[in-house]
């Protein structure tokens, strides 16, 4: 068999991460840990004791500069923080670091089902307003103790409100031929949300997840109805 085409990570068997990050050791001295993938293994495991001051310090400061430089290059490559176009005047009209808005976002979505739902080419914001609180229930359930169900209750209320307020908009993007099926799914959602509300009232924590899954399946089914209107290539 011929040589493999490379998947990413050809350079090294370890997973790539492009930072050289600095960790404070217990004695207060920063220690460099981690490594730079694309720029070779320049920042390797750190200097250690305070022993040999003069030599150490010189070497350390050189390495730190090195490390900082490679870190800056890598961060620049990876996140593309623009260093041009900063406003020249004292009070910038927009965010000072325009690229920074990309850095501050919510927890990353790792669930393939959610990723697939979000990747559907549908612009219907109204149904997304129902989808989001339903998906947030998974996060709420991760909280320990009684607080979890309170959070779930809030999610359920958000979803119900979004559904009743947005019902017209939601149905607006359904094709005529699919209107009946769309209506059925929305009705199932309404009923299901009421049932979920009762489950929460009864503090039946274990029954929440399966019900949530059922409701998300209705949402998914509904989204599939909408794809008739999506771009066809």
């Amino acid at each position: 068999m011929a040589a493999l085409l490379s998947a990413p990570g050809r350079f090294s068997p370890v997973s790539p991460f492009a930072f050289c990050y600095v960790r404070k050791a217990s004695d207060g001295l920063p220690r460099r840990v981690g490594w730079m993938r694309s720029l070779g293994h320049r920042c390797t495991a750190s200097c250690s004791t305070r022993g040999d001051r003069g030599e150490e310090e010189r070497k350390r400061s050189f390495d730190l500069k090195d490390c900082a430089l490679t870190a800056a290059i890598a961060v620049g490559l990876v996140t593309g923080i623009p260093h041009l176009g900063w406003p020249a005047h004292a009070s910038p009209a927009g965010p000072v670091l325009p690229g920074l808005s990309v850095l501050i976002s919510g927890p990353p979505i790792k669930d393939p089902g959610v990723l697939l739902r979000n990747a559907l080419p549908i612009n219907n914001k109204a149904i997304r307003e129902v989808q989001k609180p339903l998906e947030d229930i998974s996060e709420s359930l991760k909280v320990s103790g009684v607080k979890a169900l309170d959070l779930v209750e809030r999610n359920v209320r958000q979803a119900s409100r979004a559904l009743s307020q947005g019902r017209e908009l939601i149905m607006a993007s359904v094709a005529e031929s699919k209107k009946q099926h769309g209506e059925d799914l929305v009705n199932k959602l309404v009923v299901g949300l009421e049932e979920l509300g009762r489950i929460v009232e009864q503090r039946d924590r274990d029954a929440v997840a399966p019900k949530q899954k059922e409701l998300l399946n209705y949402v998914g089914g509904f989204l599939k109805q909408l794809h008739e209107h999506a771009r066809l290539f």
Binding site: M1, A7, A18, V78, L103, A119, L232
Partner: protein
């Protein structure tokens, strides 16, 4: 060129060797032709040709599981009608764009902050393997990402560089148990085959 206009679901059955806990595993994979029509179409076409049946897992480390290199000197699928390796262009769909970007990585286009519609966020994200410096060299080799290393901008370093075209939605955890030498017994399309247009597998070579 085969295109998948919509989604398709496949079941991939893998025989795991030398493992007392796991013998056979079936992975359910959803392929997204809305955002990767060429890539997903090429894959479904190969699945229908039974191209992957009997193929071994060729790479399995902490990072990816990979397969798709056929026996013989070729590193991809040889199209019987041209007798050459059939390759597909790199295809990346960006949030907000109307159609995918072809032939270039987002980095090459200077679109550093662009977000992909199909990010490498999930354990079990499926994408095309290709030669590192040849954007349009992908043919039949595919890989599944295991650990998703995210940068502070919640992006993976692979986003915009490799073409994602699906996700494992069931049993993705078992990807961790696969090792080199385990065999893909079969991949079968469970639904969505009618979304495949211009299939080439029906043409007798």
């Amino acid at each position: 060129m085969p295109l998948l206009k919509g989604r398709a679901t496949v079941d991939m059955k893998v025989k795991v060797k030398d493992n007392p806990n796991v013998q056979d595993c079936v992975f359910r994979i959803v392929l997204d032709g809305y955002n990767a029509p060429v890539t997903a179409g090429n894959f479904v076409d190969l699945v229908e040709r039974h191209f992957y049946d009997g193929m071994e897992i060729q790479r399995a480390d902490g990072f990816v599981v990979q397969t798709g290199d056929p026996e013989g000197p070729a590193e991809g699928f040889i199209d019987p009608s041209t007798e050459k390796v059939r390759t597909i262009p790199l295809e990346i769909m960006v949030v907000g764009d109307k159609s995918p970007v072809y032939g270039a990585t987002l980095e090459e286009l200077g679109r550093y902050k662009a977000q992909t519609r199909l990010p490498f966020n999930a354990f079990g994200t499926m994408a095309m393997a290709r030669e590192e410096f040849e954007n349009n060299s992908a043919s039949s080799q595919v890989f599944w990402l295991k650990e998703s290393e995210l940068t502070p901008s919640n992006a993976n370093i692979l986003d915009g560089r490799y073409a994602v075209f699906g996700y494992v939605t069931e049993n993705e955890g078992y990807l961790a148990d696969l090792k080199v030498g385990d065999v893909v017994e079969s991949i079968q399309v469970v639904s969505g085959l009618d979304n495949l247009v211009n299939p080439s597998y029906k043409i007798v070579g």
